[in-house]
């Protein structure tokens, strides 16, 4: 009898440890925690860490090292090198900005590390420069803009479009025009980091447009929307979700009310994963999560799910486990395309006021199971 108990205890112990003895995984989180873009990076970091915390024991073997890139490409590259060489991380993640991603990702995957993007999705990495070890959980950069172009077709015939003059800005307007069928009332490229938009607003006023599409992330969007509302121009505004995300809405204020914008997620999305995410995020950090937090939360859960299926030391098996996307996404359904970028629904949201808090509400679906336009150029199968 005693032998039997001992044997079963032993069996139980090995059984349990069989689950938990998943190899330790070391994750390097490089993101923007200082400077003007810090709000985005902090949300991404908090979302990522929350996913590991909520996973409990399943994430016990996952260790995270976090560093601030200050939104500087050269710094991000140094940090990535340091994390690969001396911290010996298995996976890198966390970068918000496309120019930083372009600086870090090719080098990291060439050294056999995994890179899993929480946000940046430059077109090159989705197309010709795609890599089997590069996964993007967020989107390809054009996607939200494409969704807005599609949405504009429903109501508008003469849209004025505007974005900053840098790669993500030109990608944005390209993405919009890929689906928009109406006429353009005007097309302006502004300076990156521009803070005064009086000259552009005067042109928009004079253009006779029936709608205005803008892509102005971070502080640029705040400045523009305030000045636009103050100027008394009443042409309706549409744009990708970045300019109207939870991190900037309080600073824009009521000027954002009624703006239609596109994103892969909003906090009222009806599924259990999303509800748990919003509740625990609010309890942990005392604020509403943004789209950046949601994408990073999904990234954390993707890593947890893959680590439970395969050892990170066995690159082929781990890659296959990542590709399965065996986690409960806050977006409801989620899968990877051949180029390791998401196939997902993209929603149209409207900025509304709930009590005193400005937030987004889903009002429609622009795309179902949307894939990016660059997958065909990617040799991966």
């Amino acid at each position: 009898m005693r032998k039997l108990i001992a044997a079963s205890v032993l069996a139980l112990a090995t059984g349990v440890s069989g689950g938990a003895s998943a190899e330790p995984v070391k994750v390097g989180l490089i993101t923007t925690l200082s400077g003007g873009g810090a709000g985005l990076g902090i949300d991404a970091r908090d979302g990522f860490l929350l996913a590991l915390k909520n996973a409990g024991d399943a994430a016990a073997e996952i260790e995270v090292v976090t560093e601030d890139d200050g939104q500087k490409p050269e710094l991000a590259v140094q940090i990535a090198d340091k994390m690969i060489q001396s911290d010996q991380v298995d996976i890198l993640t966390g970068i918000i900005w496309s120019n930083l991603a372009m600086a870090v990702v090719p080098g990291a995957v060439a050294q056999g590390k995994f890179y899993i993007s929480v946000n940046a999705g430059p077109s090159a990495l989705a197309g010709s420069q795609c890599n089997e070890n590069y996964f993007n959980v967020a989107y390809q950069n054009d996607n939200f803009h494409e969704a807005m172009g599609q949405y504009a077709n429903e109501t508008y015939r003469k849209t004025f479009i505007m974005a900053p003059n840098y790669p993500a800005g030109t990608d944005s307007l390209t993405g919009f025009k890929r689906y928009y069928k109406g006429e353009l009332a005007g097309e302006i490229y502004t300076q990156v980091g521009q803070t005064d938009y009086a000259a552009e607003i005067a042109q928009i006023r004079a253009s006779g447009a029936d709608s205005l599409f803008i892509f102005l992330p971070g502080g640029m969007g705040i400045a523009f929307m305030k000045q636009y509302a103050q100027s008394g121009v009443d042409i309706p505004v549409i744009g990708p979700g970045f300019s109207f995300s939870q991190d900037v809405l309080p600073a824009i204020g009521d000027a954002a009310l009624g703006v239609k914008n596109s994103a892969s997620w909003a906090k009222d999305l009806d599924n259990d994963a999303s509800r748990t995410f919003v509740e625990t995020f609010q309890a942990e950090y005392g604020r509403l999560p943004s789209i950046y937090a949601a994408q990073a939360y999904d990234t954390g859960n993707l890593i947890v799910s893959a680590a439970a299926r395969a050892s990170v030391k066995d690159a082929a098996a781990f890659r296959a486990a990542l590709k399965e996307a065996g986690f409960d996404s806050v977006r409801g359904k989620f899968s990877f395309n051949t180029n390791n970028h998401p196939i997902q629904d993209i929603y149209v949201r409207e900025v509304v006021k709930e009590g005193d808090v400005l937030t987004n509400k889903i009002i429609g679906t622009a795309f179902t199971d949307h894939k990016d336009a660059y997958a065909e150029q990617c040799p991966l199968k």
């Binding site: 003007g36 097309e187 009086a198 005067a202």
Partner: protein
């Protein structure tokens, strides 16, 4: 319609220029009187905007915020002068640049520590909301007109202060001969602190006024600082008059460039390309103007008279 748009754009250029003047006046005053390159001037602009936003949020009044911004920026300026800057007057410019750059980092992280990483909200006061009619049928925002008014008032007040008052006389004396003014028994240390606080208050005022138009966030001062340096290089370092003229030149050139260049290129190429090329050239335009001015007048348009 085109003339109305043109008038509106000229006003926009003037408004940008006036705002730059508030920044550049302090910068040029500090350089002229103390020979100090203050990279942290943009941080004082940020301090003004944050003080205004938080005081306005607490009291519900923009005007209380404006007063708070002046007080906070002047106080921050005086404290920084006494604790740090005072030790730098005798050092060379590289040390000054290093130390004031360190101040930028300290101010930025300090502000983040106090207020968090997310931008603050600040709206224009109800009194100045709305628009007024322009000749030609367009409308212009009242608040921007008010900024132009404040800028002109500050320019006049500064001119009177420097030309007509005893303090102004000392500032001018300090500019032309530091040792002599000390030998005559003027308390040069207090004078320096006062000038520094005055420059800081002007930067704080600019930050508060602009904070209502833009986003109040950490790091907001640095882009403006670069433009302010362009202004004082064009205008002549140390000259208030130069700062005013330089600021208006930069403001109008930048705005009109952004407005006209893409249209100009639109005559030659498809609109999408014209937007890209015109936009890129417009963002270089003020630096091209600066280079031309430096080539013709290396000391700037109105070089300060040096004794």
């Amino acid at each position: 319609m085109q003339t109305a748009l043109f008038i509106e754009q000229m006003l926009n250029g003037l408004q940008l220029g006036v705002m730059l003047f508030l920044m550049a006046a302090g910068l040029t005053l500090i350089f002229g009187v103390m020979g100090l390159i203050n990279l942290a001037h943009g941080s004082l602009y940020m301090v003004g905007a944050f003080a205004c936003a938080s005081a306005a949020a607490a009291t519900g009044s923009f005007w209380a915020g404006l007063a708070a911004s002046l007080a906070a920026a002047a106080a921050a300026g005086a404290i920084v002068e006494i604790l740090v800057i005072r030790r730098l007057y005798r050092r060379d410019h590289l040390d000054q640049v290093l130390a004031t750059f360190a101040l930028i980092l300290i101010f930025s992280e300090g502000t983040r520590w106090l207020f968090g990483s997310f931008p603050l909200y600040l709206d224009i006061p109800p009194l100045l909301q709305g628009t007024v009619s322009l000749p030609g049928g367009s409308r212009y925002q009242l608040y921007r007109l008010a900024i132009i008014g404040v800028g002109i008032a500050v320019a006049v007040a500064l001119f009177l202060l420097i030309a007509k008052t005893r303090l102004g006389m000392r500032i001018r004396a300090g500019e032309s001969d530091r040792e002599m003014i000390g030998a005559l028994g003027v308390d040069i240390r207090t004078l320096y602190t006062l000038v520094f606080a005055l420059g800081a208050a002007l930067a704080g005022l600019a930050g508060a006024l602009v904070g209502a138009l833009q986003s109040v966030q950490v790091g907001m001062g640095e882009p403006v600082l670069i433009l302010a340096f362009v202004v004082i290089v064009i205008g002549g370092i140390g000259s208030i008059k130069g700062a005013l003229v330089g600021a208006v030149i930069v403001g109008v050139t930048d705005t009109m460039g952004r407005f006209l260049l893409p249209q100009l290129f639109g005559l030659l190429m498809p609109p999408s390309q014209a937007g890209l090329v015109g936009g890129a050239l417009a963002s270089m335009l003020i630096y091209i103007v600066m280079a031309v001015v430096l080539a013709v007048k290396p000391q700037g348009l109105f070089p300060a008279a040096k004794g």
